[in-house]
Symmetry: D2
Subunit: 355 residues, 4 copies
C-alpha cells in the first residue's frame, strides 16, 4: 500500500517487489487501493499484483494502487466531524484477507501508523520511505526527489531563455514546506541567482541588492527559486507588503509574496510560476527508477529473511534497512553547514541571509 502524496517511482517500487516476490519467489502479492481505504471500506478494494500487472510499470508516473493523504486508522473520520479509532478493525481486515504482512510505502506519517499497527495490533510491517521533499533523516535519498528536481530544473532552464530576452525577475515556486532540498538542488542545477528556503528567513534588501547589482553588470534579469515554505525575515515586512500592495492577498504563495516585496523596492517587472503538482507527476528519471526498484526488491528481501519492523533506506550508496522506530524521526531540513549550501554561496548564489 501507498500512503501520503504521490511521487514518481511508486509504481517502480511495486514492480520491483512483484518481479522479485511473485516472479522470483513465487509468492502471492496483493495491493491495497487508496492507502488504508481499500481495507476499511466495504467492499474491500484489493488488487492481485501479478507479473502481468508489473508490465510497463517502471516508467509510469503515479501509482496503480492510488493513495490518500489522510487515512489514519487510529483517527478515522466518524462522519460526524470527529474521529474514531478503527485500527483494530483494520488489523482484523488484514488478517481476514489472509495477508501475512504489510509493505507500507509512505512518508514519516505513514511509517508511524505502520509502526503502531505492528506494536499495538501485531501486524508485521516493512517500510519503504517515500518523500518527494527528501526530508527523511533515515535515508540519504528517496525516489521521486530527483524527478521533482528535474521538473524544477527544466522550468528554470525555460525561464532563463525568456528572462534574458525580457529584462525581468522570474520567480519559480517549488515544493518544500519545511525542507528546501528541491529548491536548493534545482536552484544550483538550473543556475538560479537567488534561492530562498524555509530554513533561512530571507532579508528582502539583500535580494533587491542582488537584482540591482546584476543590473549594473548588464544582467537585467534575475532568476529566483522560492521554496513554498520560505518567508521573509521580519514579521513586519509581510503585513506592510500586503497593506501597501495591490490588495489583500490570500491565495498568494511564497513566490507571490516575495514578488510583491521586491516590487516595493525595485522597478522591474516580475513574473511568478508555480509548479505545483507538476513536480509529482510524470515518468520518474532513471535515478529514481533504479532506487525505487532496489527499494522494492529489498522490502521483499526483508520479509524473506523475516526482518519485519524495518524500513529500507539508502545510506552512503548502499541500500540496507533500519528499525521502523528509528525511521520515524523529525524531518531532515537543510542544515546551515550543508556542503551544497556552502558551495551555492561560493558560486555567488544569494540565499537572502548571511550564512
Amino acid at each position: 500500500m501507498n500512503g501520503g502524496g504521490d511521487a514518481p517511482g511508486l509504481n517502480a517500487v511495486i514492480r520491483g517487489a512483484v518481479k522479485y516476490g511473485v516472479g522470483g519467489l513465487h509468492w502471492q502479492i496483493v495491493g491495497i487501493e487508496d492507502a488504508f481505504h481499500g481495507l476499511m471500506e466495504s467492499p474491500r478494494r484489493l488488487q492481485d499484483l501479478t507479473m502481468k500487472t508489473s508490465q510497463g510499470l517502471i516508467h509510469r508516473g503515479g501509482t496503480i494502487l492510488g493513495t490518500s493523504n489522510r487515512a489514519d486508522p487510529f483517527a478515522w473520520p466518524d462522519g460526524k466531524g470527529g474521529t474514531i479509532d478503527r485500527s483494530a478493525e483494520l488489523a482484523d481486515a488484514i488478517r481476514d484477507e489472509g495477508l501475512e504482512g504489510l509493505i507500507c510505502i509512505g512518508g514519516d506519517g505513514s511509517q508511524h501508523l505502520s509502526l503502531r499497527l505492528m506494536q499495538e495490533h501485531g501486524i508485521p510491517v516493512v517500510g519503504v520511505p517515500k518523500t518527494i521533499d527528501n526530508d527523511l533523516s533515515a535515508t540519504d535519498f528517496t525516489f521521486g526527489f530527483w524527478s521533482a528536481v528535474g521538473v524544477a530544473t527544466e522550468a528554470i532552464d525555460r525561464l532563463h531563455t525568456t528572462a534574458e530576452s525580457h529584462d525581468r525577475v522570474m520567480l519559480l515556486e517549488v515544493m518544500g514546506r519545511t525542507a528546501g532540498w528541491i529548491a536548493l538542488y534545482a536552484g544550483v542545477a538550473g543556475g538560479a541567482d537567488v534561492i530562498v528556503l524555509p530554513e533561512i528567513d530571507y532579508d528582502v534588501d539583500r535580494i533587491c541588492n542582488t537584482i540591482r547589482k546584476r543590473s549594473e553588470r548588464g544582467r537585467h534579469f534575475t532568476i529566483i527559486v522560492v521554496a513554498e515554505g520560505a518567508s521573509p525575515k521580519s514579521g513586519e515586512a509581510l503585513p506592510a507588503a500586503r497593506r501597501h500592495g495591490r490588495g489583500h492577498i490570500v491565495t498568494g504563495g511564497a513566490a507571490q509574496t516575495l514578488a510583491m516585496l521586491i516590487s516595493e523596492q525595485v522597478h522591474v517587472e516580475s513574473r511568478v510560476t508555480v509548479l505545483g503538482h507538476l513536480q509529482r507527476g510524470g515518468s520518474p528519471v532513471p535515478y529514481d527508477r533504479v532506487l525505487a526498484t532496489r527499494f522494492g526488491v529489498h522490502a521483499i528481501d526483508l520479509i524473506d529473511r523475516g526482518q519485519w519492523g524495518r524500513m529500507v533506506r539508502l545510506r552512503d550508496g548502499v541500500v540496507d534497512s533500519v528499525p521502523l522506530a528509528a525511521a520515524v524521526t523529525p524531518p531532515r531540513v537543510v542544515d546551515l553547514d550543508h556542503p551544497l549550501l556552502r558551495e551555492a554561496v561560493k558560486i555567488g548564489i544569494e540565499l537572502g541571509a548571511e550564512i
Copy 2:
C-alpha cells in the same frame, strides 16, 4: 528587430535570415537590440549579425536581440508620465545607420508600428508574424505556438498521472487572453476533460456536473485546462465566489477563480498550476524551428525582390506573403464552428457551454 513578447523560434528566424542574407547573398545584416530601444537610446545598441552569430541559434530559446513589450516610437514615454511622438527621430536613426530597410518580427502591434513607419516616414519594412497565441488572422500558424502547446501538453501529461493517484480536480492555466488556441490544442493533445476558453463564457454548473458524472463512472479526477482569459458565464457568479470564498482575491487568475467556483458546489480537492512564462521559454520544437527558418528566408526573399511593405505568412502549408496593411487585422479567435472545437465536443470534452 523583435517587438513584443518572447516566442520560441525568434532566434531561428534571425538565423534563417542571416544564413541566407549574409551567407548566401553576401549582404550585411544588423540586429537592433530590445525592439526600438536599441535605436532610440544613446549610444545606439546594434549588433552585426554574421555567420558566426548564427551558429548554434536554431535550438536556442529567447532572442539574442532582446525585445520589449512597450516600444512605440509614436508614443514614447517622455519621462514625465506622458508620451511624445519620436517616430521621425527613429526614422532618422535608421537612415543615419545606413540601414536600407527593416525586418520587424512581431505581432499585430509591432506590424502596425512598422506600417506607420513606412507610410509616414518612408522606411522600407518587411514583417515576420510573431504571436505565441496564434491569433494573427493573416497566417495559419506562427512559430512558437506548437512549442507552447508542447509545454502545456507535457504539463497535462504530468498532472494526469498524479491526478489519477489522488482523486483530484487539477486545473492548468495556460496562455491566451483573448484567443484560446493554446488551451484548445493542448487540451485535446493532453486528453483534458474540460477546456474553458476566453471565447466561451463557462457555466460552472456544467463543469461541476462533468466532475460528478466522472466520479460516478469511477473516474475520481478531472483535468481542466483554463485559458488565462476564460471567465464564468454570469457576472454575478464571480463576486459571489469572492465574497463567500476564503478571502479577497486579487492575484487569483482564471484557474484560481474556477477552482473556487467549483469548490462551492463539489466536495473535492483541487490544485492549480499556472504555467506562465514556461510556455515562452526553452528550445523550439522542430515544427517551429522549420517554420521560423522559412519565415527568415522568405523575409530576405521579399527584400531581394524589392517587395517591401509585406509580411510573410503560412497559408495552406505554403509560405508566401501579404501586404502589411492586410496583416494588421483584428485577432483571430476560436470560432464556434472551428472543426477542432466541434471534434473536442464529439470526443466528450466539456467546454462549459452548449455549442
Copy 3:
C-alpha cells in the same frame, strides 16, 4: 485494425474513434489484434474497445492492438513456403463476428488490401492513412511524422554539442527508404550541414568540399543527416569504397557507406549513429496527437454518414476524405522543386548535388 509498421499516434486514433463512436454515438467497437492475424487465426483475437480501454491512450506510443508488416489475406503464407488467397475466409470471419465494417489504419499497402476486400468481397471499409515517412500523396501530413522528426532533431542537437567539442564528422542515419522527408525536415530543424536523400544521388566530392570549407572557416565539425535510402551518385563509387575500404561491408547502411566514402578523401574522424526504431517509438508529439485524434473522429463520421470506401486525410489544414481508390497511389517523394528543399539550399545546406 492497424496494418504495417508502428507509428506514434496509432493509439490516439483508436482513442479518438472510441471516445466518439462508443462514448458519443453509443456504438460497439471491436479491435482486431495484430493486423489481419487476429481474424485469421483460431481462436480469433478481438478486443472490445470501451471507454475504459481508451483511458490513458493519447500519450501512449505503439498500439494496443498490435500490428503486422506482412498480413496479406490475398497472399497468406500456406506454411509450405508459398501463399494462398484466404481473403474470402477473412470476409466470412468479419461477417461471422457481426462486424458491420472495418476501419483500417495503415499505409499504402494496407489501404490497397482494404480496397480489394471491399471490391471483391463487399466488406465496407474506411481508411486512416499511416506512414511515418509521410509519403502518402493523398494527405499532407500523417500522424507519427512530426514525432519521428522530433526524435531525429533531438539526436542532431545532441550530436552538435559533442561534435563541436571534438572536431568530427557526425553522420546520423534516419528513416526514409524512398522518401527523404524525415531527413529533410529534421536536417533543417536540427541545423545539419549536409542532408542526403534517396531522391538525390549524392556526389561525395561535394560533401567532402563542404567538410573542407567548413574546416577552413574554423568549423572543424560537420553534421550529416543521411536518409537510409540515400546512395552515392556513381554506381562505381560504392564498390570502390568497399574494395579499398576496411573490409567487406554487409550490414553497413547508408550512413556507414557515406562515412567510408568520406574517409577516402578527408582525414577526419567520423562517427555514425543509426536511430532505427527509436523513431517509431515513444509518446507522440502534440501535433501528432491532435491529428491522430481528428483522424479517428473523422473515420467515425464517415461511417456515421455511410460514406464507406473513403480514407480520411489532411489537406490544406482541413481534415476531410478521398475515395480509397484515389488514396492508393505512388508514394510522394521529395520533389526537386519542393520549397523546403530550395530553402535548405538558400541557408547553405549541402544536398550532395546541384539542384
Copy 4:
C-alpha cells in the same frame, strides 16, 4: 583544460570553477583549448574565462574549451609517424604563460599525464575526474554518467512501445568497452529483459531461452541492452556466426553480433539501434550539473588551500579529494557481487550467464 572524450557536465565544471575562482576569489582563470594542443601549437590557443564566459554554461552540453582524445605531451606525434617527448616544452609554455597551476578535467589517462607533469616538471596540478563510463575507482560517480544513462533509458522506453506492437527482439548498443555500468543502470531503469556486459561473457543459449520463454508467456518481444564491449562466451561462436551468417561482418558491433547469433537459433525479427555519441551529447541532467558544479568548486578550494597533486572525487555522498597517484588505478568494472547486479537477477533480468 579537458582531456579525453566529451561528457555532459564539462561546461558545468568550468562554470563552477569560474564562478568561485573569478567571481568569488577574484582570481584570473584561463582555459586551454583542445586539451594540450592549445599550449603546444603556435599561436597558443588560450581563452580568458570570465564571469561573462560562465553565463549560460550550466545546461550546455559539450565543452567550450574543446578537447582531444590523443594529446600526450610525453609522446607527441613527430609528423613522421613516430612520437617525441615534448613535455618539457609544454611545462615551459605553462610557465611562460604565467600559469600557476593546472586544473585537468579528464579520465584515467589524462590524470596520469598530469601527475607526470607534476612529478617530472614540477607543474602544480589538480584533477577533476571525467569518465562517462563511471569506471574510475577513486570516485563513486562522475558527471556525465547519469546523463548517458538518461539517453539510454529514454531509448529503451521508446523501443518498448514499438517492440510491444511488433513482436520483435530489440537490441540497444550502449557505451562501455570494459565497464558495463551504463548498460547495467540503463537496463534496470528501462526495464530491459536481457543485459549483456563486457564483464560477463554471455551464453547465447541462455538468451535465446529467455526469448522463447517470454514468447510462451505471451510476451512476443524482448529488449536486450548490449554494452559495446560485450562478447559471447565461447570464442568459437563468433567465427561460426560470421561464417554461416549473412556475410562478412566488419563494422558490426556487439549488438549486431548478438543479433546474428540469436537469429541462428530463434525465428524472430530483430532490430539493432546503436546510440553512439548521442550518449555524450546534450544538456546534462540535474544530478550531473550539481556534481560537476561541486567538482569545479572543490578544485578551486584545493588550489586555495595549496593542496596540489590531488583529484576531487565523490565518496559516500561527500565531495572530497585523493592524491592523484591514488586516482590513477585500474578501471572499476562491474563486480559479480555488485548489489545492483544481484538485484537485476532477482527481478528476472537475464545476464547471459549464471552468476
